[in-house]
Amino acid sequence: MRALILLFHRESSLAWGRGGGPLLAVGFFAAMTVMFPFAIGPAPERLSAVAGAVAWVGLALASLLSLERVFERDFDTGALDLLALGPLPLEVVCAVKALAQWIANGAPLAVAAPFTVMALGGRPDSAFLVAATAAIGGLAFAFVGGAGAALALASRRGGVLIALIVLPLLTPPVIFGGTAMSNFAFGLHWQTGFILLCAYTLAAMALTPFAMAGACRNALS
């Protein structure tokens, strides 16, 4: 238990990076949000129709941004050896890394998301749902993305390879969360999408640590 807290403290401080971590993700997210109206045109009806979707996709991409560093940094410095040989099973270590990644990046993004949606003309009363969807979806992105990052460790090719592996796997949460948000915007039934998203996130949190640990062991061997 003490080891768990110790590791969590280390991972959060590394992911937070003295403010650099969330700044990068939120900055990218904000920049992307600005780009869309430039591309679509300033007409409010068109923008508000896609507000939720833009925020959701932006969230997915911003989450992928900082994934590289989750494992590669420790792999390069040799710290991953230490973590793999420690008191906690490697599966738990990987889960803690993904969780810390979410807290440092996903949670700030979840706070920024409602502002984005409203800036693009979404309904103000959707703010709570957007934040909740972004928070839960962010967890799924962090864990599935973590699996991709661990798999790409052995390749040293990082970035784009991780995105290529991970994006098709993220189809379900993108569909569930995006549908929940856009249905809410049109006054339709949104609860199913939201519940499915929660179910997916729970499953991802339970299962992906095994894939992450297996991939790390492979890269370390």
Binding site: A152, A154, L161, I165, N218
Partner: protein, 240 residues
Amino acid sequence: MIALLANPYRFMAFSRWAAPILASVAILLIAWGLWLGVTAPPDYQQADTVRIMFVHVPAAWVSMMAYACLGGASFFSLIFRHALADAAARAVAPIGAMFTFMALVTGSLWGRPMWGAWWVWQDPRLVSVLVLFLLFIGYLALRASIDDEAKAARAAEILALVGLINLPIIKFSVTWWNSLHQGESVMRAGGSALAPEYLTPLLLVGAGYSAAFGALWLSRTRSEVWRRRAASLQLLAALS
């Protein structure tokens, strides 16, 4: 059957005669199925363009089967550390990608006369196949980008298994997504309420494609085994 084939020597002996036989069976079945499909009466709604279905739908079936085979071979390789299973997994991936690509292209060709567009999002099967294509590409990219063969094999196996577990969820989510936006129930001709004149050629071509898949997979696995043998002989020669 699998236990019988797990022995590399038995596999090589088996596949030497099995692959050509499967290939002949495949050609036979596909030719027969397509002939029946071409001579079947035209659909009242889609006229002659329905015939592309006989090429498209079985390709979609086989592409999903191919991923399941990839997942199965990866599972055996990962859990039992079986070299032949790994060779089989490496061999099946490009075949699966090819069938998936074929399904996408023929689906697009089918769609053009029907919906007037080269691609639509209304068909859940087509969209699932698109995501499946991306999964294959991701697998091939990961395998190709890791230099150490053993590490590449292990990482790719894990990815294949993660993809296999995700596949039903992806299918479900895409179908659900589509059902929410009730458009014209377009692909009904590809649905279960098929007239027997259509069902028989479809099943024949499906069986033919499966046989072709089997033949291709067996022969690619054989060449993968030969490649590994050649590589280790080369290494032995270099070291001695």
